[in-house]
Amino acid sequence: MARAATTTDAFNAVAEPRRREILDLLAGNELSVNEIVEALGLAQPQVSKHLRVLREVGVVDVRADGRRRLYRTNGQALKPIHDWVKGYEQFWSDRFGALDAVLEELKEQEDANEGNE
C-alpha cells in the first residue's frame, strides 16, 4: 500500500502543467535552474519552487557540478505514473478501436445511401 501513497504523491506533483513542462525538458537532459528558466520563460523562484516539489516526491534528482546544481528526472520514480498512463491509454485505445469499427460501418452506410439517391 506504501506504493499507492508514493504514486499518488508523484501523480499530484506531475499533474501541474508547469511541472510537466519541466519534466519534459529534463527528460534525457541534465539542466541547471537557469537553463530551465531560460527554456520556459518562467521566473526563477517559480522554477525553484516546482523543482523542490518534484524533488520531494523523488521524480527529480539533483547533483552538484562545481558551483552549479544540475537536475534530472528519476526514471524509477516516474515509472508508476508512466505505467498507469500507458494502461489507461490502452483502455481508451481499445474502446476507440471499437469506435473506429462503428464509424467505418456508418461511412459505408452513408456511401450506400448516397449511391441510392
Binding site: W84, Y88, S93, G97, A98, E110
Partner: protein, 164 residues
C-alpha cells in the same frame, strides 16, 4: 485493421483533478457524434474488450439522463449514469458521469466535456474528465492501476473480429 486505425489515445493530466484523453478518428464529426449518442451504436464500442453493454439509455437533451450497464468479463455488472448539461450537435457534449460501484456515486460524479473538431474529413476528439477533488481522481487512477493491465488480448481480438 490498418485502414481504420487512427493511432492510440493520448492521456494527460492537465490539472490535479482532471484527466484528458485525445484521439483522432478517420470520420467526419457528425458521424462521431452519432456514434457517441445513439444507443445501438454505443453498445457496439463502449464496452470495448471489457464486456458486453447490456443496457444503454440516452435521453439526449439538456437535463436528460443517460445510463449504461456493462456485463464485465468477471461476471460483475458495472453501471454508470449521469445527466446532459450541454449539447451542441457534432461539436460539444457536456455530461456528468457517476460510477454506480463507488460510494455515494452522485456526489463523486465527474463532469465530462467531449469536444469534436473536424478537419479534412477527420475528427479530433478530446474528452476532459473533471473530478470533484484530487482525491477522487486519484482513487479512479488507483482503481485503473489495479485492473488496467489485466487486459486479455484474446478478448480484444474476439471483439475486433466480431465487429468486422
Amino acid at each position: 485493421m490498418k485502414a481504420t486505425s487512427s493511432g492510440s489515445a493520448i492521456v494527460t493530466l492537465p490539472a490535479d483533478n482532471q484527466i484528458l484523453v485525445t484521439r483522432e478518428f478517420d470520420a467526419p464529426a457528425d458521424l462521431v457524434f452519432k456514434a457517441l449518442t445513439t444507443p445501438e451504436l454505443v453498445k457496439q464500442w463502449w464496452g470495448a474488450n471489457r464486456g458486453a453493454v447490456t443496457l444503454c439509455e440516452i435521453d439526449l437533451r439538456v437535463g436528460g439522463r443517460w445510463r449504461y450497464v456493462m456485463d464485465a468479463a468477471n461476471g460483475m455488472e458495472v453501471g454508470f449514469h449521469g445527466e446532459y448539461r450541454e449539447i451542441v450537435p457534432n461539436e460539444r457534449l457536456v455530461h456528468t458521469e457517476a460510477f454506480e460501484g463507488a460510494p455515494d456515486p452522485d456526489a463523486n460524479a465527474s463532469v465530462v466535456t467531449t469536444e469534436l473538431a473536424e478537419h479534412d474529413g477527420r475528427t479530433t476528439m478530446t474528452v476532459l474528465m473533471e473530478f470533484p477533488s484530487r482525491e477522487i481522481r486519484d482513487a479512479v487512477i488507483a482503481t485503473g492501476m489495479e485492473s488496467g493491465m489485466q487486459e486479455s488480448y484474446d478478448a480484444l481480438e474476439e471483439v475486433a473480429a466480431s465487429l468486422r
